[in-house]
Amino acid sequence: MEYYFYLNDRNEQQGPISADQLASRGVTLNTKVWKQGMSQWQSVSEIPELVALFEQQQRGATPPPPPPAFDTVPPTPRPQPVPSKPDNLLVWSILTTVLCCLPLGIVAIVYSSKVDSLWTEGKYEEARKAAESAKIYCLVSLGLGIIGGIIGFLAGFLSAL
């Protein structure tokens, strides 16, 4: 450990004291200090090892500063939160195709099959729209299937009369 002399407020020589005690004696970055081997008195701020030491002691006393903001590098944009993948409704599309006996189900399957591939390409909005279309075609298919069921029922009922 190096020993330093320093000049107090009244310009009186003090010391020698060890470097790590300087701060506790009221030495600031502007205080003139001297140690053996130096040609003249110098401010603490001119002696890199003391500046480093002061900074280290400051950090010890107070919480570390927040991570430095790099002024030269623009802050990287926060990645947009990835919305959750819409259900591709493939099951429903095929169910309505098979059970409701309707070709509209095929359209639904086409849209369903697009959902996942669009999603993996990162086209979230289009994937969502494809899922939406698949849903609409499923519902129309289902609705027509139910209407078909009712027609079938009525037709059978009337013919039985």
Binding site: G105, I109, S113, G145, G148, I151, A155
Partner: protein, 124 residues
């Protein structure tokens, strides 16, 4: 809860198609496409086929709609992946069933069957 509902719906459906032969009664749902156009849709015959299938008459079932040989296993796989895959047992199956190639093959076969049955099998 959702799983229970799905199972219930499936069981009800199977029960109805086990007890009622759509061939002999007139009140079962009709295919709107067939009703409008006189043509068969890809799934026409499914109800009759299901009835036969539930009675163990495989040959009769697939005579009504041979495409069910493809549709039913695929649909079964999809349902397993969709509602019964909580523990990840069917992850492999899911990759296969939901693979774009698989879906496209199914679509192409479906459309081919739709056209084919109306050209060659319409009177059958």
């Amino acid at each position: 809860m959702k799983k229970a509902i799905v199972l219930l719906v499936i069981l009800c459906g199977l029960g109805i198609y086990f007890m009622i032969d759509p061939e002999s009664v007139s009140f079962m749902p009709r295919c709107v496409f067939h009703w409008c156009t006189g043509l068969d849709c890809p799934a026409c015959g499914t109800q009759r086929a299901m009835h036969q299938l539930l009675h163990g008459h495989l040959r009769e079932a697939f005579a009504y709609n041979p495409f069910l040989l493809i549709s039913l296993p695929y649909l079964g796989g999809l349902i397993l992946c969709r509602w019964f895959n909580n523990k990840g047992w069917f992850d492999g199956l899911k990759r296969v069933c939901y693979h774009p190639v698989m879906v496209n093959i199914y679509l192409i076969l479906l459309v081919a069957w739709w056209i084919g049955r109306n050209i060659w099998l319409h009177n059958g």
